[in-house]
Amino acid sequence: MSDQVKVGNYVLLKDLYYTDSDEYVRIEGDVAVVGITDYAQKKLRDIVGVDLPETNRKVSKGDPVATIESVKAAADILSPLSGEMIEVNDELRASPEIINQDPYNKGWLFKLKILNSNEISELWKWEKYAEKIKGD
């Protein structure tokens, strides 16, 4: 179990990378596992649906690749890195509320095979993301 930090009501994991648009990235070798942060799922509130990307295609950093629908809003999910879409979390199609229940583990959205590992250094460490959501 990785180290947790609480910023206000929101949980962060110290071993993840983060983006300004509230995705998290877990690096597992040359694969990036992407989801939305605890902060993002709490802001969206009750999630009712997820539109997941197609696999076996290349995406660029910043591309909108998925959509999350909640009772409050619809959010575009941006790819945090360039890569090849290798897997999506099919369980979310039937039970999108898993994202609310467990955003960092069972609630992951998709996996990318990383194409350009230099981009990882542009992602945020947890301290910087904590600064962003502090006081919100």
């Binding site: 709490k42 509130r45 009750d46 009712v48 649906g49 997820v50 959509t67 629908e69 909640s70 009772v71 619809a74 199609r93 999108p96 509320e97 609310n100």
Partner: protein, 346 residues
């Protein structure tokens, strides 16, 4: 910004809060789907302290002239839903009227309209108006098992009692009423008593519910929300909100008679999407037939009971046909929608 006096307690109980009509209120606790289904199958407790509570004193004829619907003779009974209309017969507010005694009533308004209504009553009558909103909290216990907790089986729908004890606490008004389509009670009581009642109900394992579930419950029934489905540009005829009583004089009566003669160009209807589509349609989204716009959505949600998106809105009279399959485009994709009558869940 106003805040329910219970907010700190509710946050400790797990409330996720948000803004509604200028009030910070609990939006959800465990999740709106669980809370929604608890109301349909069991029981849940809502804090609805944001609703306006105003005391009216004076001549009954004056109140009858302001309200579109008849206020009856019997005390300790609710008369509503009722409405204040302007002279064009569009909605200033839809309200619930409680007759407390001869020449004394409590009116519950939408939070967003409280000050407007108070001002309008004062300008259009000599009635004495007191804003009691901030003196009290308001709780709603809703669901088929609510009588098990409250007792008071003998009280019929829209009846109420004053100054009674609930869970040992003083309650100003206990009514058999609600806005969810289920049996239930609404309580108007001092903040300290509300805190105690909520605490005791939590101890009894009553599910706490927020305003998101309240919204999805009322949409399944086809109940309107002021500011979404009705406002100062909609009239009761096109809204199919049959709360006016033409047997008396009231502000807006002449306009209603004229609307009845000319007919309406649009009609409020319900929308049902296909099962297992997982979207929440947007307010003001278009409803189309073969790419021609025939109406728009005024409220929508994902129905936990029907497992599909639902909504309501206005359709041109030429196309307001129950059963007609129409379309709605959401984020670049077209969805089939069936025009449906209310309630959507029966």
């Amino acid at each position: 910004m106003n805040t329910t006096p219970l907010i700190e307690f509710e946050e400790k109980l797990g409330a996720s809060t948000g803004e509604f009509a200028g009030w910070t209120m609990p939006m959800s606790y465990r999740g709106y789907k669980e809370e929604h289904m608890a109301v349909r199958n069991n029981v849940a407790l809502f804090d609805i302290s944001h609703m306006g509570r105003i005391i009216i004193e004076g001549k009954e004829e004056e109140l009858q002239y302001l309200l579109a619907g008849l206020v009856g003779e019997s005390s300790l009974r609710m008369y509503g839903p009722n409405a204040f209309l302007n002279d064009k017969a569009t909605f200033l507010d839809d309200v619930m009227v409680y007759k407390l005694a001869e020449n004394r009533w409590l009116i519950v308004t939408n939070a967003v309209n409280r000050e407007k209504v108070i001002d309008w009553i004062r300008r259009n009558s000599s009635l004495n108006v007191t804003d009691a909103t901030f003196d009290y909290c308001m709780l709603a216990l809703q669901g088929p098992n609510s009588t098990r907790l409250i007792g008071n089986d003998e009280m019929s729908r829209l009846q109420f009692k004053v100054n009674v004890k609930v869970f040992g606490e003083n309650v100003f008004i206990l009514s058999r009423s609600g806005w969810t389509g289920e049996d239930g009670f609404e309580l108007i009581l001092k903040p300290d008593a509300a805190h105690q009642v909520m605490s005791k109900m939590v101890h009894e394992k009553v599910e706490l519910a927020g305003l998101i579930a309240r919204d999805s419950l009322r949409q399944e029934m086809g109940f309107v929300l002021y500011g979404e489905d009705i406002d100062e540009s909609t009239n009761p005829v096109e809204a199919r909100y049959w709360l006016y009583s033409l047997e008396k004089e009231f502000i807006g009566r002449e306009a209603i008679l004229s609307i009845l003669t000319s007919g309406v160009s649009r009609i409020r209807v319900g929308f049902k999407f296909e099962r297992n589509e997982k979207i929440v349609p947007k307010k003001d989204g278009s409803i189309t037939v073969r790419d021609k716009k025939i109406g728009k959505i005024t409220s929508a949600t994902y129905s936990p009971f029907l497992s599909r998106p639902i909504g309501m809105g206005y359709i041109n009279s030429t196309h307001a046909l129950f059963g007609l399959k129409v379309e709605h485009e959401h984020r670049g994709k077209k969805y089939e929608v069936k025009i449906s009558d209310f309630p959507l869940i029966k």
